[in-house]
C-alpha cells in the first residue's frame, strides 16, 4: 500500500482534509518519544487503498519544535511515496514558505489548494494552473470542509511519479554555495541532498552536527540564514503577482471586527470570564436557568418528590433532567449514563444471586470493580462536554486570543498564556486538563503545568471541602462553609503558583518559551472534526478506566475487606440491623454488605503503621492510637477516586462513632462524627483538606500524567506531589496551631529563596560545594 504524508501549516484545514480522506479508518497514536499526536488512516476512494499519515501542523522544517522534528524525520526517513501539501489559499504567502522547503526534498509532492471557496467569496481569484506551472508540481483546488476536489486530488496523487529531483527557489542567488554543500552530501550518499545542503547553509543545528559538514562550507559566508528566508518569501511574492488577483479590500474584515471586541483593552478579560463561566455552567450546573435563584436552598420550583412522583423508571428518567431545577446538558448526560450503569450493576448483581455466588463475590464484582469503573465512567459525559467547550474555543481561534491577552501575567511565572487553559480545566477534571497541555510547545512548560494541574481542585474533591467545612461549622461553631471552601480553592492556586515559580527557578530553569504565534482568522468550527476529536478522547478514557482503575479498585477492596488473618470483614447490613436495631439504625435502609470493622482490615493496620508520619500535619500521633489512623486510610482510598475520601470516612464512622453513615445522604454528619470521635483540631482539618487536594491525584489522573509527561519524569512528579502536599499541610497545621511558627517558616522559605537566587546568579552553589567535598 502506498503511503502519503499530509503536511501543512496549523489552521489550514489539515485535520478537516484528513477526516474527509480517511473517515472512520483513522486512529490516533503518538510519535515515538514525544507527545505529539500521530494520526493515520486509509483512503479507499481510489483504485487502490492509500495510507495517509497526518503530520503535525508546522510552519517550517526547522528543528526547534517537536512537531517540526517529527515531520522532518518522517518526510526524510519514513519513506513516504509522496507528500500532500495542503495550502490555505486565503494566506498563500506564508503557506507557500513551507512548500518551498518541501520541494527541496526528493519526495514527490502534490499541492491541495484549500479554502478556495473563501477566496472566491472575498472576490479574489487564484490561478491554480499558473501556480502549478510556477512550482512544477500538481496543484489541485479543494474544499476540505465541503469535500470538493478530493477525488481529483487523490487521482493526481496516485499518478505521481516514483521519485522526483529536489528543486529550490534559491538556485539563482546561491548557486555556488548550494553546489558546494550539495557535493558534500552527495559524497556521503544521503538521500534528498539538496534539502540537507540548503538546511546546512541555513545554519541548521541538526545538519551542523553532522561529521564534516561544518568543514564542507567553512570557506563560505556561513550565515545565510536571513538571506535565504528573505529569498524564499521574495520568490513567493514575485510569483504571487501573476497568480493571485486581489479584489479591493474592505478596511475591516469580519475577523477584525470580532477581534475588536474580544481582545478589547478593557472588555477582553470580563468577556473571557463570562465565556469560561458559560462552559463550566453548561457542564456542571444543576440549576441551568437559575430558576431556583442564584444560591442553593432558596428554591421555589417543586422537586419530583413534592410533585408526587414515585420511584419507578419514568420518575428516575425524568429525574435525569429535572429535579427541583432544570439541569445543565452535562449533568443530564451524566445522569442518563449513571442510570444505565445503575441498571447494569443491578442486573449483574441479580445474575450473581441467581447463579448462587457468595455475598463476597457480589461485593467484589458490584461494589468494588463495577463501582470503581462506573464511578470513573460516570464522569465521561462531563469530561467530554468540557472538551467540547474547549475544542470549540480552540477551533474558532478564540483560544489563541486568550493566550494573547493573558500572556503578560503568565510570563512572570515562566509560562506562556497558553498554559492558562489546561490549568483552568483542572477545576473541572484533571484528565482533560492534562491531555490539553499538548497545546503547549515547550517541554518544561508542559511538565510544570501537568504537575500543578491537580492543585486546581477538581469536582470530585469538592465533597471533601464541603463536608469538612460543614463539620467545622457544626462542631466548633466557627466559620462559614462557602468561605472555607473558597479559601481552600485559593490555597490550591497559591500552592500551584509557588510550585511553578520554584520549578522554573530550580529543576526547570530557562527562559520563558518564545511566544511568536499566529492569530488565526475566526472560523466556525467543523463539527465533524470536533466530534471525531471527542470520540478519540472517549476511547482513550474508557480504555484507561478498564485497566488501571480496574486493578487499583481490586487492590484497595482486598486491603479494606480482609484482615491479616484473611478473615472477610464485610457484613450484611440487614443482619447487623436486626441484631442491634438501636446501634445500627442507620443501616435500616441499606441492602448488601457493609464494612463496619475497617479497623481490623489490612488497610486499617497499614494506616495505623503510617500514622506517626502525619503527626506534623495534625492527624498523626496526637489523635491517639485508637482512631488516629482513620484520616490516613481515607487519604489512601482517595487515590482510587477522590470521592472515596468522604465515603471511607462514612464507613469508618462505624468504627469511631458506632454508626454507619451513608455519606451521600449526609456528608456533613460524616465529618461531624469523625471530628468528634477523633478530637482533631481545626488547623489539622484544614491541613487534611489541603493534603488531599495537593497530594497524588486519583489513579486515572496519574495514568494520564504518565502518558503525557516526557519519559522518566513521572517518578519525580509523584515525589513532587507527595512532598508538596506534605509541606503545605504541615505549614497550615503548624501556623494554625502556633502562630509563632510563622517566623520559622519565613526563615526557612527566606533561606531557600536566597540559596536558589545565589545559585542562579552563579555566586554560591551549595550543590557544587557538596559535590566537591564528596570527591575529596
Amino acid at each position: 500500500m502506498k503511503t502519503f504524508a499530509l503536511a501543512g501549516n496549523p489552521n489550514c484545514g489539515k485535520t478537516t482534509l484528513f477526516n474527509a480522506l480517511t473517515g472512520s479508518t483513522a486512529h490516533v497514536g503518538n510519535w515515538p518519544g514525544v507527545t505529539v499526536d500521530k494520526r493515520e488512516g486509509v483512503y479507499r476512494g481510489g483504485e487502490k487503498p492509500v495510507k495517509i499519515v497526518d503530520l503535525p501542523g508546522i510552519y517550517s522544517l526547522s528543528p526547534y519544535t517537536p512537531e517540526e522534528v517529527v515531520s522532518r524525520n518522517f518526510i526524510l526517513d519514513g519513506q513516504p511515496d509522496g507528500i500532500i501539501n495542503i495550502v490555505d489559499a486565503t494566506n498563500l504567502e506564508r503557506n507557500l514558505y513551507l512548500t518551498t522547503q518541501l520541494l527541496e526534498t526528493d519526495v514527490p509532492v502534490v499541492i491541495a489548494l484549500n479554502m478556495m471557496d473563501e477566496v472566491d467569496k472575498a472576490g479574489d481569484r487564484i490561478d491554480a494552473q499558473a501556480l502549478e506551472a510556477a512550482l512544477g508540481v500538481p496543484v489541485v483546488p479543494v474544499s476540505a470542509l465541503k469535500g470538493k476536489g478530493i477525488k481529483q486530488l487523490m487521482d493526481r496523487a496516485a499518478a505521481l511519479p516514483e521519485t522526483r529531483k529536489g528543486v529550490t527557489v534559491l538556485q539563482d542567488e546561491f548557486r555556488s554555495e548550494i553546489a558546494a554543500a550539495r557535493a558534500y552530501y552527495e559524497k556521503e550518499g544521503v538521500s534528498s541532498p539538496l534539502f540537507h545542503a540548503v538546511k546546512l547553509l541555513e545554519n541548521d543545528e541538526i545538519e551542523r552536527e553532522r561529521k564534516g559538514a561544518k568543514e564542507a562550507v567553512a570557506q563560505l559566508n556561513a550565515d545565510l540564514e536571513a538571506e535565504i528566508a528573505d529569498r524564499r518569501y521574495g520568490y513567493i511574492s514575485s510569483n504571487l503577482a501573476s497568480v493571485k488577483v486581489s479584489a479591493k479590500r474592505q478596511t475591516l474584515t469580519k475577523s477584525d471586527k470580532i477581534d475588536r471586541v474580544l481582545t478589547h483593552r478593557i472588555w477582553s478579560i470580563p468577556i473571557f470570564i463570562v465565556v469560561l463561566f458559560a462552559v463550566f455552567h453548561l457542564t456542571f450546573s444543576e440549576n441551568l436557568f437559575f430558576l431556583n435563584g442564584f444560591t442553593e436552598g432558596q428554591g421555589w420550583m417543586p422537586t419530583l418528590e413534592e410533585l408526587g412522583y414515585g420511584d419507578g423508571f419514568g420518575a428516575r428518567l425524568l429525574a435525569c433532567f429535572y429535579d427541583g431545577a432544570v439541569f445543565s446538558p452535562g449533568v443530564m448526560l451524566t445522569n442518563l449514563l449513571n442510570l444505565v450503569l445503575d441498571y447494569i450493576g443491578g442486573g449483574v448483581s441479580a445474575l450473581i444471586g441467581v447463579c448462587g455466588g457468595a455475598a463476597w463475590v457480589d461485593s467484589l464484582v458490584c461494589d468494588a470493580i463495577l463501582g470503581g469503573i462506573f464511578a470513573v465512567l460516570g464522569f465521561l459525559p462531563q469530561i467530554l462536554f468540557l472538551f467540547l467547550g474547549f475544542s470549540v474555543m480552540e477551533d474558532t481561534g478564540y483560544m489563541a486570543r486568550i493566550a494573547f491577552v493573558l500572556d503578560r501575567i503568565f510570563r512572570r511565572f515562566g509560562l506562556s498564556g497558553r498554559a492558562f487553559m489546561p490549568m483552568i480545566m483542572g477545576f473541572g477534571c484533571s484528565l482533560p486538563a492534562m491531555i490539553n497541555t499538548r497545546t503547549l510547545s515547550d517541554e518544561n512548560e508542559r511538565t510544570a503545568t501537568i504537575r500543578v494541574i491537580p492543585f486546581f481542585s477538581c469536582g470530585a474533591k469538592l465533597p471533601i471541602l464541603t463536608a469538612m467545612a460543614g463539620g467545622i461549622l457544626a462542631v466548633f461553631g466557627v466559620g462559614n462553609v462557602d468561605l472555607i471552601t473558597l479559601s481552600m480553592y485559593l490555597a490550591g492556586i497559591v500552592i500551584a503558583v509557588c510550585a511553578v515559580l520554584l520549578m522554573r527557578n530550580t529543576t526547570m530553569r530557562g527562559e520563558a518559551p518564545p511566544f511568536i504565534m499566529e492569530l488565526p482568522a475566526y472560523r466556525l468550527p467543523a463539527f465533524k472534526n470536533v466530534l471525531l476529536h471527542l470520540w478519540d478522547k472517549a476511547k482513550h478514557f474508557v480504555k484507561k478506566a478498564f485497566t488501571i482503575i480496574f486493578a487499583s479498585t481490586v487492590i484497595i477492596w482486598v486491603l479494606q475487606s480482609f484482615s491479616w488473618r484473611w478473615e472477610f470483614l464485610l457484613q450484611d447490613a440487614q443482619q447487623l440491623f436486626e441484631a442491634d436495631p438501636v446501634k445500627w439504625q442507620s443501616l435500616a435502609e441499606i441492602e448488601g454488605l457493609v464494612n463496619v470493622q475497617t479497623d481490623k482490615s489490612i488497610l486499617g493496620s497499614l494506616g495505623a503503621f503510617v500514622q506517626p508520619l502525619f503527626t506534623p500535619l495534625g492527624f498523626g500521633a496526637q489523635l491517639g492510637k485508637s482512631f488516629g489512623w482513620v484520616f490516613a486510610v481515607a487519604a489512601i482510598t482517595g487515590l482510587v477516586a477522590k470521592e472515596n475520601v468522604i465515603a471511607t470516612l462514612g464507613a469508618l464512622a462505624a468504627v469511631v462513632a458506632g454508626a454507619y453513615i451513608d455519606w451521600e445522604a449526609d456528608e456533613v454528619a460524616t465529618a461531624v462524627a469523625m471530628i468528634e470521635g477523633t478530637g482533631i483540631t481545626i488547623p489539622a482539618i484544614l491541613a487534611f483538606i489541603v493534603f488531599n487536594m495537593t497530594t497524588i491525584p486519583c489513579f486515572a489522573a496519574c495514568a494520564t500524567a504518565k502518558a503525557e509527561l516526557p519519559k522518566g519524569k513521572f517518578r519525580w512528579t509523584l515525589l513532587f506531589w507527595v512532598v508538596t502536599s506534605y509541606l503545605s499541610a504541615a505549614a497550615i497545621y503548624t501556623l494554625g496551631s502556633w502562630w509563632w511558627t510563622l517566623f520559622i517558616w519565613l526563615a526557612v522559605v527566606g533561606a531557600a529563596v536566597a540559596l536558589i537566587a545565589l545559585r542562579n546568579t552563579g555566586k554560591f552553589d551549595i550543590l557544587k560545594i557538596f559535590k566537591k567535598r564528596s570527591k575529596k
Binding site: 510552519y59 517550517s60 526547522s62 526547534y64 494566506n91 498563500l92 504567502e93 506564508r94 514558505y97 545554519n203 543545528e205 540564514e225 536571513a226 528566508a229 528573505d230 518569501y233 521574495g234 481582545t263 478589547h264 483593552r265 478593557i266 477582553s268 478579560i269 489563541a400 494573547f404 491577552v405 500572556d407 503578560r408 501575567i409 510570563r411 518564545p514 511566544f515 511568536i516 504565534m517 499566529e518 492569530l519 488565526p520 482568522a521
Partner: protein, 76 residues
C-alpha cells in the same frame, strides 16, 4: 527613521531592516515571515501592553515585546 519593532505605536507601519536575536527565536521569526524587507503594521497591544499583534505577509502575528525588540524596522 529606524527603530525597534517593540517601540512601535499602534497603527504605525514599517519595513524590516534587520533581525537579531538568539538562534531559536531568530529562526522562528524568519519562519513566521519576519525577514528583512517585509512590511508590517502594528495592529494592537494586549490589554496589559504586552504581547503585541502585527499584520505581516497578509496574516496576524503575535509576539512579545522582548521578541519584537529583535527586529529593527524603518518607519514608513
Amino acid at each position: 527613521m529606524k527603530k525597534l519593532l517593540s517601540e512601535f505605536t499602534v497603527g504605525e507601519s514599517g519595513r524590516i531592516v534587520a533581525v537579531t536575536g538568539e538562534g531559536r527565536v531568530r529562526r522562528r521569526l524568519f519562519d513566521m515571515g519576519v525577514t528583512p524587507g517585509a512590511t508590517l503594521i502594528m495592529r494592537k497591544k494586549a490589554p496589559l501592553g504586552d504581547p503585541v499583534e502585527i499584520t505581516i505577509r497578509g496574516y496576524e502575528l503575535t509576539l512579545r515585546k522582548s521578541e519584537a525588540a529583535c527586529a529593527e524596522v524603518e518607519v514608513l
